[in-house]
Each structure stands twice: as C-alpha cells, then as structure tokens.
Point group: C2
Chain length 251, copies 2
C-alpha cells in the first residue's frame, strides 16, 4: 500500500501546548500562510481571514479569555476569522443587495474555509517538526475578541492556532474506534454501542492516568457529561454575537 511521510505526520498528530523560546522565522510563517492560502475554498469565495497576533496586550487578554497561558507563550499565534466582509465590499461597489452574505449558508462557507486553511497550517507545521494547538476557547468571550481585533460586520473569530517548536512530546491520545464514527450509506449507531464505549472508556482512562504530564482520572463518558452540563457563561452568547455581527439573519 502506498504510504507517505505526510500520512505518517497525520497519524502521529498530538496537540503541542508548550513551545521552546525559539521563534518561527518570518519565512516559516509566510510558508505556512501560503499552504493555507492554496487550500480549498467553498464556491471559491475565499471567505476567511487570518490575524497574526503579536501585540502583548491582546495576548494577555487572550490568556484571560481562554484560561490558557500558552495563548501568550512563545509560539506564533494565528486567529482564524470567517469573513464575508471583503465580499460585502465587493458587492457594495456595485450597489448590490448583500443580504445573502448574512445567511447561515454563507457563515458555514466561512467556517469551512477558515478551518480547512487552519488544518493545512497544522499539517504543514508538523511536517517540519513544529507543533500546534487549536484554541477554540477564544469563544469564551467572542464579543471581546471581535472588539480587540477590530473585526467588522460579517466577520467572526472562530479559533486561534498556536504554532511553535515543541517543548514536550506527549503520548498519542486514543480516539473513538471507527465503529462508532464511520458508517456505510446510512447513519447507524451499532447495537453494542455501550460495550464499545466501555472498552474506549478503559483505554482513555488508562491514557489519562499514565501519560507523562497533566494526569487525571476521567472516562470519555465523564468528559462528555461535563461538557453537557456546563459551558463558560459568555460562550452561551455565541448566537447573539453571531447575530450582532450580521450572521444567521434568518432567525
């Protein structure tokens, strides 16, 4: 079977949350951005933007918002933005009615484009020995991020991505078996769902208990239950923030 160093890279993905002091060069950042730029775009509307964050005040605020010190530590920080504002400017030139750009479909297009681009950066980075971590937790206060980055109407900050030289080498984190996540032609939860989850709970608990840092005792079910039961307060305002940015206009 054909194989490649790229597939090896993907199969060995782990999130890296601490980086050495060595900074990415401008050329490296530029190369990562080029990899992102050539990636697929929904209807070729190129509906995303990237903000490179280096300002120390913004970084401090991001640490507060995310609760993660690594939002400010060393690694290069990108913020990915779903962006229909640029396309709005194009439509406005001709005086078009741009209301379609605020509809759910166009928001999804922006989310796809930004996420595809981000994952290209992650894979590119890992292929040259760098590490990366997504910070979805910027959504703990999306309105503040909008304000800090001066994001106009029809844009929305989705997540940050930190990339740097790994200062740790975490173990591979086991995923759900494909029998629970991959189906043929029809969505179908397997009859032995509970038994498969029992096995996976054991596997994941063992991983959390024995990994070299940040040990804890938790099953997958317990982790999901935790996220079902609570969410940071302002994160429950996402719908409102999206609406105030001009998205989800069909409501």
């Amino acid at each position: 079977m054909a194989n490649s160093s790229t597939i090896e890279t993907l199969l060995n993905h782990r999130s890296i949350r601490d980086f050495t002091e060595q900074q990415l060069s401008e050329q490296q950042v530029d190369q990562l951005l080029d990899a992102a730029r050539q990636s697929s775009s929904s209807m070729f509307m190129q509906q995303f933007s990237i903000i490179n964050v280096s300002d120390s005040d913004i970084k401090k605020n991001l640490v507060t918002i995310t609760g993660h010190p690594y939002a400010a530590n060393n690694g290069h920080l990108f913020i990915f933005v779903a962006d229909q504002y640029r396309n709005y400017l194009i439509g406005r030139e001709k005086g078009l009615d741009t209301k379609l750009l605020g509809e759910t479909d166009r928001l999804l297009g922006g989310v796809y484009d930004a996420t595809i681009a981000a994952q290209s950066i992650v894979t590119a980075a890992e292929s040259i020995g760098l590490g990366a971590v997504y910070l979805g937790s910027i959504l703990n206060d999306a309105a503040k991020v909008v304000d800090m980055l001066n994001l106009p109407r029809l844009t929305f900050p989705l997540f940050a991505l930190a990339v740097g030289y790994p200062a740790s080498s975490p173990e591979l984190k086991p995923r759900l078996p494909k029998s629970l996540t991959t189906f043929n032609d029809q969505y179908k939860i397997p009859d032995n769902f509970d038994g498969i989850l029992d096995d996976y709970d054991k596997t994941l608990t063992n991983y959390y208990a024995t990994r070299s840092t940040n040990n804890r005792s938790e099953t997958f079910r317990e982790q999901i239950d935790r996220h079902i039961l609570s969410s940071p307060k302002k994160r429950r305002d996402l719908y409102k923030v999206l609406r105030s940015q001009g998205f989800l206009t069909e409501a």
Copy 2:
C-alpha cells in the same frame, strides 16, 4: 528554511473533479480514515461522523442535488456530518439535561471537527498521488440528505468529499494575495483595496481564460457578485434544517 514534501503537496493543491476507473483499495480508505481520526477535536468531544457512500441510489440523488456528475463517478465518496447525537446518547444514559448540545457553540464544534478531519483526508490523499474535491453543494438540499442517510437529531450533513485517482491535471488556481486576507493584530482592509483587486481580477480572468478545460470569462468580483445575488432555493432553508435537526436552539 526547512521544507517538506507535505508542504509541497499543500502548495500544489488543486481540486480534482474527474477520476480514473481505478478504485481506492479498502486499505487506502482505511488509512485515510485513520488520518482523519487522529486529527484535532474541539474539547475532545469527537463530534463528527463520516458516511462512506457507495449505494447507487444515494449517489444518483446526490448528482441531482449537487448538479455534479462527479458525485457519482468513480472516486470514493465520504459525507462529513457534524454529530452531537453520539454525545447526546452518552448524556441520556445518566438522564442529563442535554440542551447545551443543541446550542450554537456545539454546532460550531461539530463543524470544526468534521472539517479538520476532512482536510486531513485531502492532504493524506494528495500525498499519495490521489486527488480530491469537496462538494459543499450537498447543502442544495440538506433536508433530503438528512433523510437519505437516516441522520438523527443533533446531526447535520456538512459536505461530501470525493477522492480518487486523478484523470486530469488542472492548472494551479491563483488565490487572493495575502495583503487582502492576512493582517497583523487588527483587521484592516488596505487602502489600495481596489487596486489590489484589479490586479487579482486580471490574474484570475487570465487563469479562467487560458486553463485547459472549462474555460470561462469571469473576474473574481463578478464571481462574488453572482454568489451575492443568488443561491439555490433550498440552500436558503439551511437555518430551518439546522433548527429541525435540533441545532441553533437559542433563536
């Protein structure tokens, strides 16, 4: 500067829409799924599923929905699903109130996870000489796709991905320059926005006019204006379909 075959692959991305008759082996599909599976997941909620589509009736319907014959031709077809239903089942076991799983934040988590996984498959496939194309156009009738794939509440079909042996070798499609898409610390449309777009319009028009297949005459601005002015009718129902699947409950 460090470089890698992975970065070369990413910089050479083009969507492949026609495939030879050679089918992917089961092992190849499995390897692509493994690459997807190890990718990052928002809060590690593993909130996506993949449907392998081989049923000829489903494929025929997808050709009708998408308008693309390549939805049925040769290549292996994956459909990516944002999925909180599996996590709902976990919460239900303990009788938890699962309403958080329907909120906008959890929908976004599912979209991120599915899109990250899909882009890992695209890059893995391209690294071993395969080609791929996203089909966002399954959203031209999302309700029908939900029905065909038997998708339960708290799931939503995002896009399809066709992967196969390339039967063509399209030219590289030029993207917007980074000056319009990448900013430092603050979102800021450059003062010479129109001039930069004029240059890009020329570049893209030349690409469309001279590429070896499917020539057309269109600038980037014209293409965006077209998508601002119209959208397939049922695609404007996405918000409703998401709501009927149990998402966006804050409205």
